[in-house]
Amino acid sequence: MLFASVFIPDFPLQALFARKPELRTEAVALIDGKPPLLKVMAVNEKARKTGVEVGLMKAQAEMAGANVILRSPEFEQLAHRSLVACAQNFSPRVQDKAADLVVVDIEGLRSLFGSPEQIATRIRASLLQERLRVNVGVASNPDSATIAARGFHAVVIVTEAKQIGSLPLTLLGPSSELLETMTLWGITTLGELAALDARALSQRVGQEGVLLQKLARGQQVNPFIADDKELEFAERTDLEYSIELLDPLSFVISSLLERICADLEEHSLATNELDYELALDPPRVAGVELGDQQLFHRRTIKMPNPTTDRKLLLRLLQLDLQSHPPTAPVMSVSLRVHAVRPRYVQQGLFAPQTPDPDKLELTTARLSNLLGENEVGSPELLDSHRPRAFVMAKFEPAKVSDSKSPSRVRSPKIALRLFEPAKRASIRIRSDAPLQLSFDGKHGDVIKHSPPWLTSGEWWTEADWSRKEWDVQLQFADGAIADYRISIDLQTNQGFVEGSYD
């Protein structure tokens, strides 16, 4: 069992310097708290020399000439993420213990990275590239490793308990009472604590003392539980100024997508669902509270096949934004994809050609943009007596099964060609038979007609309908003859020409 504990000393300061390295050489005092009570909570060496200490008020620190900077949770988060990410590059078993501390299980990494010392050195070096100066402690249990990382500088390999003996007791984080007692006894280092009689110690200071002694003796107290890595593929960026136009927004999105796609490919995964959220900056009206709808633009794009094609995703996003543009300038962009295993489909050698799913997806999106969302797709008949009962469903040729039993030789049937919408007509009727028709400025005589046909339905809803139809042969003024289907809505008495038999 071998563990490496990686600790970032002076975390808030290091987090700041990692992002703003130019400040490292200056006197910096970090302040924190609720204004106006802003106090100094960390100072670097240079600032200490000028007399700025932790606990000073903001004004005092400024007066001493130090660079007074507000503590930045964002920088600290970034630093923490770097820490975790670096550790994960070495081993999948990482325990994220605190913002400034991770423990890594490095057992078995000899063949990959070398001796424990080499591993620790490499970890340190990789974090140095992120401009973070860390301490790495290696030991056979995570607690000793952590103590070493906290107590010593750079890399320390702990093989014996007495190596940590010289470290101060405060490193173990004792309670104030215990610390007081220990100080009274003259116990100030781990070594001294370790040397005490365990039983006597427990009698005098209870469980806490025993636990701390264990730590001081280099024994494990806390278990190591590797963090469950939840694979999240998300990127987010806040924009420096709000964006209104699609082109610059596309640019931002493209770079986010690049990272996400690279990430996916690294994990041999793909995505078929992408959520995007744009934080908006709508004009504020005094006294009016803005709802979630107005502050965020959230949409989801789904693909039929998992993909890592950045260009495809970008295009789909662009088309979606074109058809559903955000209602206000955009302040930040977040993208998140659902990772799935990519699908490998083997095309049958003799299978008839079907449209390529990715191209089809793009084409559908483009057509929807041009024609409208409900105007593109595969027509699906609805189970209803109501005429024109169909919807435009998603066209998914891959999912079609030839389940229909081979019908007996089907002969063609005369098709109806619809007028969409049905053309309003005025129909002259006598004894339930149509005689003449006027529609579209044309006038026709009914030469032949069928008996009336009656249909009605949905009587239990508001949309109940009832109609009478005829099939008619019309002759127009110019002599043209054609067969039509006409109808009357029995509730409104309005006549229609439904279509022609073609």
Binding site: D383, W453, L454, G457, W460
Partner: protein, 418 residues
């Protein structure tokens, strides 16, 4: 002049939307002199129809739609129903026997279909119509066009006879039906068969179409929103008045005329049932009433031990009423069935209003002392009510009856199996 000869009532479960009484009343309102009630695979509604028709002053023709299995007719997606009307008592008996046969063959309640040979056996005295959407002509037309339809009708003629097949025409303002009517007319003229206009009635008034739709949902376990094309296409299957039908079939007066003629031909009604309770066999010189009295008294002594005046008085009263209404034979038959069950170790239990009868208790039909419980005999049987008594005896569902029972009880055994 028109008579509706193809209607169904709510006794075509979850298909007909009107009670027989509603149909009868509507007939009276529209001055229709008679009605042919053809429920699905049974004559359940015929009794109530008969009574309601009497009250309404119309004549109730008896018949049924007999289902033929779809598996026997390749290429048809649904069952085919033969509309049959009883022309005389022989026809009625045949109809009852036919239905009984295929129903007892069926394990599940409510199902069952006939086979062509069976229909042929029981065809005497029956008139067959060629049907509407569910009839044999429609099915054959769908299967193989007009040639197939014609050969199907020829088959019907061979089964029922030239005078006993009518080509049915219905007009509900549907395109496919109109095409079928044309084919039907063609066939009728080629085979020289009379045409008959009917309305394929499923409900008494237009508004009841909604009930029919709801029933369709129940039958198919759907909701109104999801039943789709299973629902009615329009509201035209109501009891049309004679004048409406005459207008609708203005071009085919024969089709209208033939309904009256056929109605006249169908002499049979439940009035002419000639129903007598079966006679219970008694020895020479003995009567059913006397036998009943003897057995009742013997049974009463078993049950009560000491026959107090109160008990005797009640028994006398009951026996007097039974005798007056000439129902001794009926009681004896039931008593015989129960005895048979007891011998065969089949559990039999009388229930319902029969429990109000001390005679039933004495005979062992019921297990409740009606006198001790102060139950009212008149709830079970009284002269004023004028109804036949109803003795329900429950038997276990799966029952294997030893077929080699003695002859005197063989009828009983068969009856018990029902």
């Amino acid at each position: 002049m028109y008579v509706e000869l193809h209607a169904r009532s709510a006794f075509s479960f979850l298909e007909g939307a009107a009670l027989p009484e509603q149909l009868a009343q509507r007939c009276a309102e529209i001055q229709m002199p008679a009605l042919g009630l053809l429920d699905r695979d049974g004559i359940y509604g015929s009794a109530r129809m008969h009574v309601a028709a009497e009250d309404a002053g119309i004549k109730a023709h008896v018949g049924a739609e007999v289902t033929l299995a779809n598996s026997l007719l390749k290429g048809v997606a649904r069952d085919v129903r033969y509309p049959l009307l009883a022309a005389n008592q022989v026809g009625y008996r045949n109809l009852c026997r036919l239905i009984t046969r295929y129903k007892t063959r069926e394990k599940n309640k409510g199902e069952g279909f006939s086979i062509p040979e069976e229909i042929r056996e029981h065809s005497n005295g029956l008139v067959c119509l060629t049907g509407g959407d569910e009839g044999p002509l429609a099915a054959a037309l769908q299967r193989g066009g007009i040639e197939e339809a014609q050969s199907e009708i020829e088959k019907l003629v061979s089964i029922f006879g030239q005078e006993n097949v009518y080509v049915e025409l219905q007009r509900h303002f549907e395109r496919e039906e109109e095409y079928r009517n044309r084919a039907a007319l063609d066939i009728a003229s080629r085979l020289r068969l009379p045409i008959l206009a009917t309305n394929g009635v499923c409900y008494a008034k237009r508004e009841q179409r909604a009930i029919a739709d709801v029933f369709t949902c129940l039958r198919n376990k759907r909701r109104l929103d999801t039943a789709g094309k299973l629902l009615c296409r329009n509201s035209e299957r109501y009891l049309r008045s004679p004048s409406e039908m005459e207008q609708l079939f203005y071009d085919l007066p024969d089709a209208i005329q033939n309904t009256k003629e056929l109605s006249n031909r169908l002499a049979f009604t439940l009035e002419k049932l000639g129903y007598e309770f079966p006679k219970y066999p008694v020895a020479d010189g003995d009567t059913m009433a006397a036998l009943l009295r003897r057995e009742t008294m013997a049974g009463a002594r078993d049950r009560y031990g000491d026959l107090t005046p109160k008990i005797l008085a009640q028994l006398e009263h009951e026996l007097a009423v039974i005798e007056k209404l000439d129902l001794a034979g009926y009681f004896l038959i039931v008593w015989d069935i129960v005895r048979f069950c007891n011998r065969q170790k089949i559990f039999a239990q009388g229930r319902g209003s029969a429990a109000n009868s001390a005679v039933c208790y004495s005979l062992g039909i019921t297990a409740v002392d009606s006198i001790g419980m102060k139950l009212l005999f008149e709830r079970f049987l009284s002269e004023e009510r004028g109804e036949w008594p109803d003795i329900d005896v429950d038997l276990p569902r799966e029952m294997t009856v030893n077929a080699s029972s003695s002859t005197s009880t063989s009828d009983t055994a068969h009856a018990a199996r029902q």
